[in-house]
């Protein structure tokens, strides 16, 4: 199903055609793919058209948002670290020498 959608949007009945499945079963699969964020679908008249979610599949965008999340998690941990070391005199650990060049 995902392979078919990677070629472009398709209706639910088009998706079901090569698969030996009832329309209801195909629709159920589409709903699962939608819930997992892989697929978007919208109803146009009497047909439901499905497409791959570009942002899920575009790995660079995924990577950038992961990178941002990663920095946010690190800064959360920095906060915990600063709280844990708050009562140590002179801070967490001696700062490394910062040689001016």
């Amino acid at each position: 199903m995902l392979e078919r959608l990677s070629q472009g949007p398709a209706s639910v009945s088009e998706l079901g055609k090569p698969l030996d499945m009832s329309l209801a079963a195909v629709l159920q699969h589409v709903q699962i793919l939608e819930a997992s964020g892989l697929v978007d679908s919208r109803k146009l008249g009497r047909t439901r058209t499905c497409s791959l979610r570009a942002e899920t599949l575009r790995s660079a965008e995924r990577w950038i948002s992961e990178r941002r999340t990663f920095v946010e998690r690190r800064l959360d941990r920095l906060g915990e670290y600063l709280a844990d070391t708050a009562d140590q005199p002179g801070g967490a650990s001696p700062a490394a020498p910062h040689d001016p060049i």
């Binding site: 819930a35 997992s36 920095l78 670290y81 708050a86 910062h98």
Partner: protein, 157 residues
């Protein structure tokens, strides 16, 4: 068709910590501190990779390490350009995934005294290269996609 692509992105994150600028700065300045909270500390499901490890916190110094995350070997290679104690850090870094260069970024970390401690602003400007979206993408994407598919499998169960 060419596999080459560049995507540019800038993000900025701001946090305020109830600690003096010198304490927040110190958390970046030593390997011991940074191992506790930083890139190499507490990364879930990651295991350290073999490869050069370096922490040379001075202008012109390098910081290098790697991790294996979801089967992909990530390598980080940074160079410090500007270090103003208790105020600012500027460094560049490259990221590699299984040997492909996937991004080159400039990170600027500013520490400003605030009423209730220190406001840290982390700004990253990056060029994200074809290693992510190019011919190696299916392999490199494996991590994120398999995570997503695990979710799908759970949902289906």
């Amino acid at each position: 068709m060419s596999d080459r692509s560049v995507i540019h992105d800038t993000f900025a994150i701001e946090r305020t910590y109830p600690a003096s600028p010198s304490r927040v700065f110190a958390a970046f300045a030593s390997k011991e501190a940074k191992d506790t909270w930083g890139d190499t500390g507490g990364l879930d499901e990651a295991e350290p990779a073999t490869g050069p490890v370096e922490f040379d916190f001075r202008i012109g110094g390098r910081e290098r390490f790697g991790n294996v995350y979801q089967g992909v070997n990530y390598t980080y290679d940074a160079l410090y350009y500007d270090i103003v104690p208790d105020e600012r850090l500027v460094y560049s870094y490259e990221m590699y995934a299984d040997g492909s260069r996937i991004s080159v970024s400039v990170a600027t970390i500013e520490f400003a005294e605030a009423d209730d401690g220190t406001t840290l602003t982390w700004t990253e400007q990056g060029a994200y290269l074809d290693g992510i979206d190019g011919k190696d993408a299916p392999r490199l994407r494996h991590g994120g996609t398999s995570e997503m598919l695990d979710g799908l499998a759970k949902y289906l169960a």
